[in-house]
């Protein structure tokens, strides 16, 4: 057995300095940005205090999880999964409403969002599941059981309902499946299916929005009117199906023999996706759909759904190279920016810090992701690698979606920027994840 003294020594000697440095810098930036963003509300010290408490709690968790051997998660993966489901179920019963979702435990001065921590637990559980069953990764039943695990979380989260939190589950699942060697064709079909389910309602919304702004007679107007007709859309989907079968027949004739299962599954994915888009279209509220699609052209609704993106772009752009200076951003201080201390914190950095600071922030994030991937490579077992890749993917996904959103490249989804946005649950879960990463990293040379 390892002695206590050795453990402490190892903790200090083998910790990933780059990773810790990146995290430390991001947290420092976050304090400045939150202070400036909430300065206009006159709540700077309150927000800074809450954030500091969250960081403090997070650091305790970080140290605990760092010293905790991650391999135990694999042994107790069922317990972890059940615990996460219980958390999500408990929030549906005991939680309180915030911004229309019942996703918060309210502890008076601080409230906690369990979905933030269950994301991490899901990564641990899924990695364990994949690691144990890696041999059967090519089969369809394996895939189905993975998605069954996923659905357990998704259904409970959708009941809150918290649409944007569910989004982060998909890239993690897909990337981990890819790593353990699931059939890429199946993954492709899943992406096609998901794309259709969400894409068709969004396309419909976009066509509706855009119709008001394009002139009659142009190509796009004709296209938009053509797509407005449901019959035409069904025809298009049907012709795509016929086309796929045709290609398959053609390749068969050329002696490239692909099993019939593949085109059938692809066609099935397309038709099921199209069908499933109908209930999604009904369940998504109009404003949500608008918010998701308006980034393509914020000017179609400049006072409504497009407002956030327009103002955020102005804020970032107006920072130019050197920025307007700490607490001197007009967009930030005069309240033009929406949600500036949470989802749009990067706009504050962009406006007040300019290109230098915001580009540096992106680079620090990349260093963080890169270190996480290095940890995955150096992990002593596949389980650790999977966890590290899952966490890296989750962070990368959050960063890209959030920064892409504030720069008008991605839909407005209401996802926080990990480690930077104000929010205790977010920072706590981020630090927990980093704790797990460090735990993997420190145990890379351990044999027992």
């Amino acid at each position: 057995m390892v002695q206590e003294k050795n453990l402490l020594e190892r903790l200090i000697s083998s910790i990933d300095v780059w990773l810790v440095l990146a995290v430390f810098m991001l947290i420092s930036i976050s304090f400045f940005a939150i202070y400036s963003a909430s300065f206009a509300y006159g709540l700077s010290f309150r927000y800074i205090f809450v954030q500091a408490v969250a960081v403090g709690i997070g650091l305790v968790c970080f140290l605990f999880l760092t010293s905790f051997n991650y391999q135990y998660y694999k042994h107790f993966s069922k317990v972890v999964y059940i615990l996460s489901l219980m958390l999500l179920a408990a929030v549906l019963v005991f939680g309180s409403f915030k911004r229309g979702t019942k996703g918060w435990f309210d502890f008076g001065f601080i409230s906690f969002q369990p979905v933030e921590i269950t994301k991490i637990m899901f990564v641990l559980v899924l990695s364990a599941f994949l690691d144990i069953r890696v041999k059967m990764s090519k089969t369809l039943p394996f895939l189905i059981s993975v998605f069954a695990i996923l659905m357990g979380h998704l259904i409970l989260i959708m009941m809150q309902p918290d649409f944007s939190s569910t989004l982060s589950y998909f890239p993690v699942t897909l990337v981990l499946l890819f790593v353990v060697g699931a059939n890429p064709f199946y993954l492709f079909c899943i992406v096609v299916f998901g794309g259709l389910v969400v894409g068709i309602p969004l396309l419909d919304t976009f066509v509706n929005l855009q119709l008001k702004f394009i002139q009659d007679g142009t190509f796009f107007a004709k296209l938009a009117i053509f797509l407005k007709n449901d019959k035409n859309v069904i025809c298009i989907i049907f012709s795509i199906l016929v086309f796929i079968i045709g290609i398959w027949r053609f390749l068969w004739k050329l002696k490239i023999e692909i099993p019939i299962v593949y085109p059938v599954i692809l066609c099935l994915a397309i038709s099921l996706g199209s069908l499933a888009s109908i209930p999604v279209e009904k369940s998504l509220k109009d404003y949500q759909r608008k918010r998701l699609i308006v980034f393509l052209n914020p000017n179609v609704d400049p006072k409504g759904a497009g407002y956030n993106i327009i103002q955020s772009k102005i804020a970032i752009g107006s920072g130019k190279i050197l920025g307007k200076g700490f607490k001197k951003g007009t967009q930030t201080q005069l309240g033009f920016l929406p949600e500036q201390h949470t989802d749009f914190i990067f706009s504050v950095i962009g406006e007040e810090g300019g290109w230098l600071v915001s580009q540096a922030t992106i680079i620090i994030y990349f260093i963080f992701i890169w270190r996480a991937l290095v940890i995955a490579k150096e992990s002593r077992d596949r389980y650790g690698s999977l966890i590290a890749i899952g966490i890296a993917t989750m962070f990368a996904f959050y960063v890209v979606i959030n920064i892409g959103m504030v720069m008008g490249m991605m839909p407005v989804t209401g996802m926080p920027l990990p480690l930077l946005s104000y929010g205790g649950s977010s920072i706590l879960s981020s630090l927990c994840a980093i704790g797990v990463l460090c735990s993997i990293n420190m145990r890379r040379y351990m044999y027992y």
């Binding site: 890696v134 990337v175 890819f178 790593v179 060697g181 006072k303 103002q311 772009k313 102005i314 804020a315 970032i316 752009g317 107006s318 920072g319 130019k320 190279i321 007009t330 967009q331 005069l334 309240g335 033009f336 962009g350 300019g354 290109w355 915001s358 580009q359 992106i362 680079i363 994030y365 990349f366 992701i369 890169w370 991937l373 995955a376 490579k377 150096e378 992990s379 002593r380 077992d381 596949r382 690698s385 890749i389 890296a392 993917t393 990368a396 960063v399 890209v400 920064i403 892409g404 720069m407 490249m409 890379r444 040379y445 044999y447």
Partner: protein, 594 residues
Amino acid sequence: MVWQKKDKFSYEIFLAKHKVILVFFMFLFLSLSLRLFYLQIINGSKYKNISEYQKIHNTKECAKRGVIYSADGQILAESKNSYAVLYYPCPGNQKPSEQILLELSKILQKEIKPSNSLFSKYGRKVMVLVENLTLNEVFKIQEKKFKLKGITITKASKRLYHFSKETSHVIGYISQIQANEMKHLSGAGYKLGDYIGRGGIEQYYDEYLQGKDGGWQIEVNSKGDKVRMIKYVPPETGNSIYSTIDLKLQYCAYNALKNSDTGKGAVVVLDVKSGNVKALVSCPGFDSNKVLNNRICEYIKDGKLPLFNRALQALYPPGSTFKFVTFAAAMDLLDINPYETIDCKGKFELGDRIYVCYHKTAHGRLNLISAMAVSCNVYFYNLGLKLGIRNLEVYTRKFLFGQKTGIDLPNEKQGFIPTPEWKKSKFKVPWLQGDTLIFAIGQGAICVTPLQMAHIMATIAKRGFICKPYVVDKIVDLNGNEIYKHENSQIKDRIELSNRTWEFLHKSLLEVVENGTARRCKIPGIKISGKTGTAQNPHKKDHSWFISYAPSDNPEIAVAVIVEHGGSGGLNAVPIAKRIYETYFGISASSVLD
């Protein structure tokens, strides 16, 4: 590192996939960086401008236009602050709610009819709920402002014309600059929707009257609430203009014209010594206050052309008033004996055509002076024939016909003198002696404005010394500094006639009033000189002219009167002039202003 060694094959597969993931993430972060570069470095200046622009809100505060005074210090035109309640339409709330309208009408105790103002009087398209509020009413509204969400109160200045009908043409009016006028006005600092003077003093002295618009520059937050004031530029009130208009005379002349047979015509009263305009009336006038309220259309449609400034712009043949030109030319050039008589048989034969005296009755034997007094055409036909068109033309020009007086009012017409060359080029027919005949008595194509006639009369009264007429004496800025004062330009120009001619001309003009066609104008104790005229009008009844000055020995004022379609000059125009003289010399109390 256990599994790497235990299962080398699967670890290598893992490494390949790991690389794919790393490259994929690199690609994602690279595109984020590129986008950041695009926003901040390439388009940074554009967004910087937008952010500067959207935090600053400019509110215009219109300058008050200057005051226009009459010669005796009465206010003719001034600007008063008025307040208006506006409603800014916003998405979703294009119209103010019923509750607001109800509350407003309760406060003001009158019904509110929102009007969609189509022109940008208040800076942008807004709905004007109530206009022309007093300060008291504004306070009442401010008290209840919490109930009246979404309304705005703005200050605007409103032009107010006293004696608007009487002075309408000499003062003019103001209206907004239209889009099609911007081309030539934008250089002078005017903006679309600004008010600009139209006609009269308002137009000619617009740059003095305008003043400078001020305004507030406020930093606003995203809700449009004021964060802090950046700067406030107070508007500068326009300068005050002291005109030479004698309100008593103006008032009297306008009413006399209005009550004449046709109610159409013009009067110009000039001060002989300085050339200042004591009265300038064109009848019918218009109510400049009504024009301000966008009711100009009813005047445009009016067949009597009330917007037409007859005193400056209408061209009439001078008729018999022109005879002094023929008279002077004959005296100067022909060396005729003014007491030599000619027998007027009532007609004059030239070739196969017969030219008649106005009354078609014979005047009998007349000398030059009595011919002038009774306005005998036959006598002047003779003179005209003897002089010839060339000499007549020279004297017509000498007497300032066909050139602008140079008065400080806009759109003055210069009149016209027909010449043989003009006739040749226009009608391709040579000038005939018959043309010379009618030219000699001021008929035909020759035409003048009433102002020109008054100016010429004033010049004759001064024995030919030309003095430019003017309406604005001085302009004073807000602090009382005189920034403009009319100065009589050194009298250089003079109508050169021999002394004998001047004496006989003055004598004959006096005779016209004493014993001639203008006997109705005789006022006991005051000697008046003048000349009547009847401008032939081929379409309708002739126009009636009377030009005169008084007192004859020491002239003070010159008066030109024309009554459109007034018939014979002695009949309609003369009594108007008489009333003006009575008012000027304070003889009759009837026409004194209340």
